[in-house]
């Protein structure tokens, strides 16, 4: 894939339908925070020090490419437009925090888009590996492999007692943040989602909606669950804990869907097909509307109401309907709301027309 595809294509393989428990779990991610010894963390480093970190990270790039078996695109935040940066955020390849000041902020992104290494985010290195479905072991061993390579060449900040040293004490120890993206329409419709959120917090896990600002205003029924504690546990324990919690949520979601099917099958099937019809034919769609309709269509596919949709449709619509993505495609950020909604509806129709189901 060319670097232009990074901004221009809505396709994101690790978000496609596939992998384990894919009827509920969209994707899994591992993130490792690492720093170089002696150099101030990015929030306290001057430009010379940030440049030094960038140089050090770049020096191990060929080894990273070798370990992953793919070449990486190097994207310099100083040389990307604000709209392009927003697209990378929507694709979850960088974070908003990464953009606070773009100088010497560089991200290495693998051709398959499943590995991204942010240089000079909150920590010197943020190594992220993503995969579709529920699978934390493979991304963990890949991230750990990249970490081994970095550490074999460069001095990584590590303390015998406190583990890997990080800019924020909440990442200290393993520097590991594991997370799983779950599609939970059943738990939202049956109003059980708040219980899940509360219980998860008691287990040291955090749950938040991927889309929607307020707590009660979530859109698309997509939730992210991740570990909060990073110190005092081994990587395997953290990942194992998250995995078993995710599996538990998956079984609750399936139970909720079964109950819906038992008591409201006709209404559910109807609303799934209506959602599909609107996505296929609407001439104007808002961001929120797409998310809500897409959630229903995905539920319909996973429950067998709608025939097998193509695996890439879901992720393509999820990314391809975002305002920043459309603005970047049009090369303008001053389109009116109605212009955007028209463009959005057109983009969704185009994706679905290629993979029509009946």
């Amino acid at each position: 894939m060319a670097i232009a595809d990074l901004f221009g294509s809505a396709s994101l393989p690790w978000l496609n339908i596939g992998g384990r428990e894919s009827d509920v779990v969209l994707s899994s991610r591992i993130r490792l925070a690492r720093n170089f010894r002696g150099i101030p963390f990015p929030n306290r480093a001057d430009f010379t020090q940030l440049a030094k970190v960038q140089e050090m990270a770049s020096s191990v790039l060929p080894e990273m490419e070798h370990a992953v078996g793919q070449s990486f695109d190097v994207v310099d935040m100083d040389r990307t437009s604000p709209l392009e940066r927003e697209v990378l955020i929507e694709k979850r390849l960088i974070t908003r925090n990464f953009l606070r000041s773009p100088q010497h902020r560089v991200v290495f992104i693998s051709q398959g888009r499943h590995v991204s290494v942010m240089v000079n985010e909150e920590d010197h290195l943020r190594i992220q590996c993503m995969v579709n479905g529920l699978d934390l072991d493979n991304p963990l061993s890949m991230a750990s492999g990249i970490d081994d390579l970095v550490e074999s060449q460069l001095d990584v900040a590590f303390d015998e007692k406190m583990g890997y040293l990080t800019s924020c004490p909440t990442n200290l120890g393993t520097g590991l943040r594991a997370s799983v993206l779950l599609h939970l329409p059943g738990l939202v419709y049956t109003r059980n989602i708040n219980n899940i959120i509360n219980i998860s917090q008691q287990l040291g896990l955090s749950v938040r909606a991927l889309y929607g600002e307020d707590d009660q205003e979530w859109q698309g029924d997509i939730f992210q669950i991740s570990n909060q504690l990073t110190l005092g546990f081994s990587e395997e324990e953290i990942v194992g804990n998250l995995k078993s919690a995710a599996k538990e949520i998956v079984s609750h979601e399936r139970r909720a869907r079964k109950a819906l099917e038992l008591y409201r099958k006709d209404q559910l099937e109807d609303s799934v097909w209506r959602a599909y019809g609107i996505l296929c034919h609407a001439r104007s769609l808002s961001e929120k509307e797409v998310l809500d309709l897409l959630s229903k269509v995905r539920l319909g596919v996973d429950m067998g109401f709608i025939g097998e949709a193509c695996a890439a449709c879901f992720s393509e619509i999820l990314i391809g309907s975002r305002t920043s993505y459309l603005q970047n495609l049009a090369g303008s950020d001053n389109m009116s709301g109605s212009e955007l909604d028209r463009m959005r509806a057109e983009a969704v129709r185009k994706i679905l027309s290629v993979h029509r189901v009946e």
């Binding site: 002696g38 750990s144 303390d159």
Partner: protein, 182 residues
């Protein structure tokens, strides 16, 4: 005297608002219900605007109150110049050396945040080599004690020799490390 709401004319007004629009300044006395219609920002609860960072800053500075303050404020990291007060304000550590500088202050805080202050995960192969060795020495010492208790002196002698070799290696390595900076 009781004031009545300008909007509904029924409830008691106890909120005074000043609106500045194209037609100049408009002042109104409103009841709570009517006032809530005037922009969500006015009555947004402060919790909504609180970020994780703000929350952590609070946790970190509260944790510090229980210690002896005068000493802490003098501490400054020799590598990056961060003081403990800077940390309390930002919630972020300055560099890897800070963790050494403020180790005493940070430990109780880490227990508070993570429930633990001791890492038990991955150890880097190169820079963590000494740690791997220390773990092995500890394990051998345990075996040595057991062997002595069981009166297996030949085995005990083997462990003792192995410990001596490792300790010597460790000593050489740590001696070399002290020159380098963290």
């Amino acid at each position: 005297m009781e004031m009545v709401c300008d909007e509904c004319g029924k409830n008691e007004a106890y909120i005074h608002i000043v609106q500045i629009g194209p037609n100049g300044k408009i002042e109104k006395n409103l009841c709570e219900e009517c006032a809530s219609g005037y922009g969500s920002t006015m009555f947004a609860s402060p919790q909504n605007s609180m970020s994780v960072d703000d929350f952590l800053k609070g946790v970190f500075s509260n944790a510090a109150e229980s210690g002896n303050d005068s000493r802490r404020h003098e501490l400054v990291c020799p590598n990056c110049g961060m003081s403990y007060q800077d940390f309390q304000q930002t919630g972020k550590i300055g560099c890897s050396v800070c963790y050494d500088t403020f180790r005493q202050q940070l430990e109780p805080l880490l227990r508070r945040v993570h429930g633990s202050s001791v890492h038990s995960g991955k150890i880097p192969h190169r820079s963590g080599g000494a740690l791997e060795m220390k773990h092995e020495i500890e394990m051998l010492r345990r075996k040595l004690r057991e062997a002595v208790q069981q009166e297996e002196y030949e085995k005990a002698a083997e462990y003792r020799d192995r410990i001596r070799v490792l300790e010597k290696e460790l000593g050489a390595r740590e001696g070399g490390m002290e020159d380098g900076n963290r």
